[in-house]
């Protein structure tokens, strides 16, 4: 607020701990307590707190399920990270494979929610992306060379996802239909559209199950890890993971280093102020929905080309929904989304191992994810309560 005026005599010397000394020389620098190292430090301290709360909740969960907590934690850890020091990289590769769809859809949520568009449509956009890519492969495979087809499939998936997002954006901007509702409805349309296509035009030639033919190996993503590095096991780690990492950078640069990213953030925080500042609010909201949809659509194609290799009726285990806690735990920041996507990816990989170890159903992962979200939400609420929100 104000700094002590030297001309006013203090009856007693004012308390001057370190933090105060910093703030009383505001002219010195533009951003004293907000340097990047400090941000990182506080971020890490915060996450350490979340982790503690998470472990406590998880211990209680395990105890309730009569699983010895220490063994359970060990199984989780081995499944997610394994014994990396000995050169056995398979568990980590699994974690990364599970991370990439969550990261791409999580970034999609970051972009939309930053613009104040509370899109729940990641799931539908992902499915539309996978569907468009599959259709292109089905009808274009013979006409196009392999690397070009792969690229076109990615582009088609982004367009399809963007279209699905823009539909909800248009309904909001022009017809004031709440995007929370419309995106959920569009998710169902996409889900049953995929379900229909894989028993219809896109069904495998053998026409046995609700799935498409496997894509030709030539157009799939390359495997990154030679089996020698992972104890002789073939890993699923594919080059699409790198694509997700690039997307982190792109989204960060867009949000924090471009004019429309800036305007988009203002719009999300206060649309009225954005309008008064002559930002094109409606266009920015559409843009956010389009970009968000493109990222989620890309997630679908990446999963198709990197892991699944074919489209089927149960293509996604709900990545587009898990993306929301991923983005929220990451503080709606692309780098934060990377950290929390890794966390969720590790949980997914680890809980697979845990269910093999304990015989508990693998739906336990949802319990664990919920515990993580509760830990963070609770910790944040506690922080907000402690710090108060008062200014004169």
């Amino acid at each position: 607020m104000t700094t002590p005026d030297p001309s006013i005599p203090h009856p007693t010397p004012p308390p001057a701990p370190a933090a105060d000394a910093e703030a009383s020389s505001p002219a010195a620098g533009s951003s004293l307590p907000h340097t990047v190292p400090q941000k990182i430090f506080f971020g890490l301290a915060q996450w350490a707190g979340y982790a503690l709360g998470f472990l406590v909740l998880l211990t209680l969960t395990f105890a309730a399920l009569r699983i010895p907590p220490l063994h359970a934690f060990r199984a989780l850890w081995m499944g997610a990270f394994g014994d990396a020091a000995s050169g056995h990289l398979y568990p980590i590769s699994e974690t990364l494979v599970e991370t990439s769809p969550l990261l791409l859809t999580g970034l999609g949520v970051v972009v939309a929610w930053r613009a104040g568009m509370f899109s729940i449509g990641g799931e539908g956009q992902l499915l539309m992306g996978a569907l468009a890519a599959t259709a292109l492969a089905r009808y274009g495979a013979h006409a196009l060379p392999a690397p070009l087809l792969t690229v076109l499939m990615l582009v088609a998936a982004m367009f399809a996802g963007a279209l699905w997002g823009l539909l909800a954006g248009w309904l909001r901007v022009r017809r004031n239909v709440q995007e929370v509702i419309s995106t959920i409805m569009l998710n169902y349309i996409a889900l049953y559209l995929v379900g229909g296509m894989v028993v219809g035009p896109l069904q495998e030639a053998a026409r046995r199950g609700p799935q498409s033919d496997p894509l030709p190996d030539a157009i799939l993503f390359a495997r990154l890890l030679p089996p020698a590095w992972s104890g002789g096991m073939t890993t699923r780690l594919h080059s699409g993971v790198l694509l997700a990492l690039v997307a982190v950078l792109v989204v960060w640069a867009y949000l924090f280093r471009t004019k429309s990213g800036f305007a988009l953030r203002v719009t999300g925080q206060n649309a009225e102020a954005a309008r008064v500042a002559r930002f094109p609010v409606a266009r920015l909201q559409m843009q956010a929905m389009g970009l968000s949809g493109a990222l989620c659509g890309l997630a679908g194609a990446v999963e198709l080309l990197g892991v699944a290799g074919r489209l089927d009726a149960s293509f996604s285990p709900g990545w587009g929904y898990t993306a929301i806690p991923v983005a929220l735990l990451g503080g709606l920041h692309p780098v934060g989304a990377l950290v929390s996507a890794l966390f969720f990816g590790a949980l997914t990989a680890g809980s697979g191992n845990l269910s093999r170890f304990s015989g508990v159903s693998s739906v336990l992962i949802y319990v664990i994810q919920a515990a993580a979200v509760l830990a963070v939400v609770g910790a944040r609420a506690w922080q907000a309560h402690r710090s108060g929100t008062d200014a004169d």
């Binding site: 001309s7 006013i8 703030a23 533009s30 307590p33 102020a273």
Partner: protein, 572 residues
């Protein structure tokens, strides 16, 4: 604790010494030697937010049956102190004594049990609910048998309202009420909890002239019923008019506390802004001041501003608006066939009470609201903001339309700059240049913040407004639309904003000032008009005396000062 409290509070010994209600002049303050003196006592209250010291060992004594004004600049700690009392903020240090008992007020519920209630500046009503439902929320009507009758739950509150002379219609929806009527509901809601200590946070900021007088009448009635009324205020004239005692805070410390009768505006202003004596020229404040000679220092320019005053009359208008028809947000026509002309080097003031189409007019003049019909011309060319002329708009509500308070001070200073090619490299922003621009603006406009990275919400209202003003005036605009640019600001910040507008005028900018504050109009405008019932009525600032202005406004306020039912009917 509670029985003692209530026994004490229901019949405060002070009551005996308080003369019966007198509507115009404040009665004698309660006897200071009375046993009830220091009925509510705050001792050494301290509160820090991180590195910021909001309260630094503040003392405060409030008696039952008095109106105690709390005066100070934005950021002086008034609101924080009252939030401590209302249980909204936990103090780091200090004790609170009520009727001889030390109490701890951990949360608003504890405050309520002690009979402390706060009427907030930003209302805490549910807009979609009716008056009765809002009152029932606090009366606890929801808890009985899982069902509730809002009217029954609110009955006692509505009864209290009648005791204050208000006939509230329980069935009116809050969203349909005028601001003044909403405030009445807010006050009744506070009273509904058997409150004996009532805190009003700048209650007059949202009210028009005669609504203020009516509110003051209610404050006096509450005082005479034995309540302790604490009034957070900015306007000296109001404190002199209604308060019995006043405590002045500055930078988190108590500067002075005394009987209002023992002080004057000059002294209060000096305490409020600091040790340096403030020059307080006598102003011509026409409407609000009960005492014609009451000095209102905000009205005069600082000596360091070259105040050229009005330009020669012969100058051609730069902006002309002809036959504007404007729609409101809900599609209703709010202004019909309105014309005006503004000249360079001149401040054209438009006064009037809120809700007469000012917002729509301001937005149209700023190029943000295309008129349904009519023409806006700039020097004979069609007006397009920032294309035909550098345009600045200071919106009336900084938190709603001016700032994204969750974003940093720096970001908030850059809304317009990011569109400027000199701050971009291809699609990317030049963060270094932008950061320097923000630093320049922070220094030039004296925005007090420890760092530019702090969220704008952490700043005081005055400093938030400086962000809005800095953004508007950063590129020396030729066309300025300012709407209530000093609402809720203290003397220092008000003077700063006024000086900025005067400097722009001296530069030759064309300025339209739309304000509900007649003192501001008198202080700044070279030419002025009152906007009422959709028409502009010119009046001469110099020659127009208070009576004339009062008549203009008085005519306009017909139907605005009615009770809630009137207001509800007028806005279906």
């Amino acid at each position: 604790m509670r029985p003692t409290m209530q026994a004490d509070s229901r019949q405060p010994t002070d009551n005996a010494t308080v003369p019966p209600t007198s509507s115009a002049t404040p009665p004698n303050p309660p006897d200071r030697t009375d046993a009830a003196s220091g009925w509510l006592t705050l001792r050494g209250i301290g509160k820090r937010y991180g590195a910021t010291v909001a309260l630094d060992g503040v003392d405060l004594e409030v008696r039952a049956g008095e109106i105690h004004a709390l005066l100070g600049e934005n950021g002086a700690g008034k609101s924080t102190l009252m939030h401590v009392l209302a249980g909204l903020t936990e103090p780091d240090a200090g004790t609170i004594t009520l009727a001889g008992h030390t109490v701890s007020i951990a949360n608003p519920r504890a405050a309520r049990r002690l009979g402390i209630a706060m009427v907030h500046q930003h209302f805490t009503l549910v807009p979609a609910f009716t008056v009765a439902e809002n009152l029932a929320l606090d009366a606890g009507g929801f808890r009985r048998w899982g069902r509730y009758d809002a009217h029954q739950a609110a009955a006692s509150a509505l009864e209290r309202a009648r005791a204050l002379g208000w006939n509230l219609d329980g069935a009116s929806r809050i969203a349909n009420l005028s601001v003044g009527a909403q405030q009445r509901v807010e006050i009744v809601k506070a009273l509904a909890t058997d409150a004996r200590i009532l805190i009003f946070d700048e209650p007059t900021a949202v009210l028009a002239g005669d609504e203020v007088e009516e509110l003051f009448g209610v404050l006096r009635r509450l005082r005479d019923q034995g309540c302790a009324v604490i009034l957070i205020a900015h306007k000296l004239a109001e404190i002199l008019a209604v308060a019995d005692r006043v405590t002045v805070l500055r930078r988190g410390k108590r500067v002075a506390s005394c009987l209002v009768a023992d002080t004057d505006a000059r002294q209060l202003a000096a305490w409020m802004v600091g040790s340096a004596p403030v020059s307080l020229p006598v102003s011509t404040s026409p409407a609000n001041a009960p005492d014609p000679a009451d000095p209102l220092p905000v009205s005069q320019p600082s000596p360091n501003v070259a105040d050229l005053g009005a330009q020669p009359v012969g100058v051609n208008p730069a902006l002309t608006a002809t036959s504007l028809i404007l729609r409101g947000d809900r599609g209703e026509i709010v202004l019909r066939d309105l014309s005006l002309a503004a000249r360079p080097g001149e401040i054209y003031g438009i006064g009037g009470v809120d809700g007469n189409g000012q917002v729509e007019l301001a937005e149209a003049l700023a190029g943000l609201r295309p008129p349904v019909s009519g023409a806006l011309m700039w020097n004979g060319q069609p007006f397009t903001p920032d294309v035909s002329v550098r345009t600045a708009y200071i919106p009336q509500d900084r938190r709603r339309a001016g700032l994204a308070v969750t974003m940093s001070v720096e970001d908030n200073l850059l809304f317009e700059a990011v569109g400027d090619p000199q701050y971009r490299f291809g699609p990317f922003l030049r963060r270094g240049r932008l950061r320097r621009l923000a630093q320049d603006l922070i220094e030039k406009f004296d925005i007090r913040t420890p760092t530019a990275a702090l969220p704008a919400s952490a700043l005081s209202g005055g400093n938030q407004q400086k962000i809005v003003v800095a953004r508007a005036l950063r590129h020396a605009p030729d066309w300025i639309v300012a709407m209530n640019p000093t609402r809720g600001l203290d003397i220092g910040a008000t003077r700063f904003v006024h000086d900025q507008l005067r400097q722009a005028r001296a530069r030759g900018a064309t300025i339209v000032l739309i304000t509900t504050d007649l003192d501001e109009l008198a202080a700044l405008a070279d030419r002025a008009a009152i906007l009422a019932w959709g028409t502009l009525t010119d009046f001469e600032v110099g020659a127009g005396d208070a009576t004339q202005l009062g008549l203009l406004l008085g005519g306009m306020e017909r139907g605005k000062a009615g009770d809630v039912m009137d207001a509800a009917e007028s806005k279906p």
